[in-house]
Subunit: 337 residues, 2 copies
């Protein structure tokens, strides 16, 4: 049950509001104070007011720069390892590579064989070392942990590492500081850093805002875990939303999510594509599939949002042009959306 609206009691999670606030100045301005604006044409198409929080207009084209900067600032400021390793389907690796290069910290990125090749190319171009493992994201995670143990590098475990969550939480601070009333925030749910970070900021400072965390039906582990209130693993993932495709939720992150998420819909692949198409046609935005999860959730449950003021966080635009065209443009000539 939600707390009474008057109460600003902090939810019990690993996150801390003061740490989120203290992350702000550690993050390069290029990742902060991102655009947040009404998209009238998109709102007309969805029968509500849609506010876009745009996390793609930066050198790594996704929100992960906030968490990566928070991690790297800690490595720079504190004694301990001056190199980092992570498993990443791409965006965290890209962000760590960028932040590492700007701070002189060497970064190794371990990726599964199915990782987005465009992202891997950009990671290499940013000076990081890439290691490909024969397997998926969770196999890459296993190897990254081994490498950290054997080589003494700092392991950045996305979502488990609090800096990645609290860096993402600064998005929530910006949305709240903006001051305009919001009914709901739609957040892509993968490992949980974005959802737990943004959700925590809202639950602390604006607890009446509904926190909606959308995940693909083809990669439902965290959503199923949230519903079961205990970790549910899956055997495989089957979604175009590579940025949120995990099979093994981290128990501590699930606990954090349980404390802040109000609604966790699972959406169909065709809704993700329809969401990408609407963002392209009505907002002029190229987005990667994960970034369309919010609009996908709205399309599958229009009445829930009708007439409301809804924020959707556009968390990444790292999509290969040929994939974008295959999904969004060439597959369907229906222009009616």
């Amino acid at each position: 049950m939600l707390p009474p609206k008057q109460t600003l009691s902090k939810p019990q999670t690993r996150l801390d509001l003061e740490r989120i606030k203290s992350a702000v100045p550690r993050i390069s301005p290029v990742f902060r104070d991102t655009p947040q604006y009404a998209c009238p044409a998109l709102g007309d198409a969805l029968d509500c007011e849609v506010i876009v929080k745009l996390e793609t207009a930066n050198p790594v084209r996704c929100f992960k720069g906030r968490g990566a900067e928070t991690v790297m600032a800690r490595l720079t400021d504190n004694p301990g390892p001056k190199s980092a390793v992570c498993a990443s389907v791409g965006n965290l690796g890209l962000a760590l590579a960028y932040s590492g290069q700007s701070r002189g910290i060497s970064v190794t990125v371990v990726a599964g064989a199915t990782a987005n090749p465009y992202k891997l190319e950009r990671i290499r171009a940013s000076g990081a070392t890439v290691r490909i493992v024969d397997g998926d994201f969770d196999d890459a995670r296993h190897l990254a942990r081994q490498m950290a143990d054997s080589e003494g590098a700092f392991l950045v475990e996305d979502s488990e590492n609090l800096d990645t969550c609290e860096g993402a939480g600064t998005i929530g601070l910006e949305l709240i500081e903006h001051g305009d009333p919001i009914d709901a925030v739609l957040i892509a749910l993968g490992g949980g850093a974005l959802a737990t970070g943004v959700g925590y900021a809202f639950k602390c400072l604006a607890p009446t805002v509904e926190i909606v965390c959308a995940q693909p039906k083809g990669a439902p582990a965290m959503a199923l875990s949230w519903r079961a209130k205990s970790v549910v693993e899956t055997d495989r993932t089957d979604t175009i939303a590579d940025g949120v495709a995990g099979r093994r939720p981290i128990p501590a992150v699930l606990d954090d999510l349980l404390a802040v998420a109000d609604h966790v819909p699972l959406v169909e692949e065709h809704s993700i594509i329809a969401g990408m198409r609407m963002l392209y046609r009505h907002a002029g935005l190229i987005v990667e599939p994960s970034a369309a999860l919010g609009v996908a959730a709205m399309l599958e449950d229009r009445s829930r949002y009708r007439g409301k003021r809804v924020v959707t966080i556009i968390c990444g635009s790292n999509v290969i042009a040929t994939d974008f065209e295959k999904w969004v443009i060439k597959q369907d000539d229906d222009i009616s959306l």
Copy 2:
């Protein structure tokens, strides 16, 4: 001849640096402090460092909100007309409609018959009245002037009205305040508001930065006028870059441009399309043709920019999806750019 690099002498134009600075707080924050960031993939493709100044992440998807807000603040603050009329191929009209609606000022937009229908639909949705004239932009301008005379509305003549130039000039302030060194700024040249505004800010505060104003060969009136140092009119325009297609440069604006522009290239249509394609593929940006003029100029003169740090202002993304696809995606399957 350019002044010596040490001198910060103000160029002699109609613009004023203090007025540009005073415009800043009059402009809604939704149009200010826009993203400016390096685009490594685009830079790699163009052999230089490309900084994008993104003016599309706002409710009107273009830079014109800055000028419109400056105009509307003046109408609100001062005695005189509380309604406005403009001729616009779309973006200024859209921005004035938005600003008028938010301030309770009625707006009439006069458009030529060839105006972008998507933009006109959005103008109507923002509560402005649209009048279509049988002719092009310059015919619309003529009717708007007549309506202002007969109805007492404030005529917003893009580029001639100083608020439109000085509002645009705030982009220059932001680029300069950012502090990073810049070798050149590439600006779309149409009627001249953007070029004279941004150019003036640089010539006052950072005069060693090269001001490059790019215009389509198919709508070259202002560029030819700049080269001739006197107004050259053309009979027609033939370009997909509807946002910059004028035939009759305004003499006072030409004088302002002569004082600040260092280089005024005319670019081919196929370069504009190639520029749009590069921004789409390497930066994940949907842009309207005018916003690709800078990249088009770089493509036609690569050696001029090689190894340099170049800003390109992405001035608008109001393009119909079917046009974007026709130009950028379906026309050419070559993915090598």
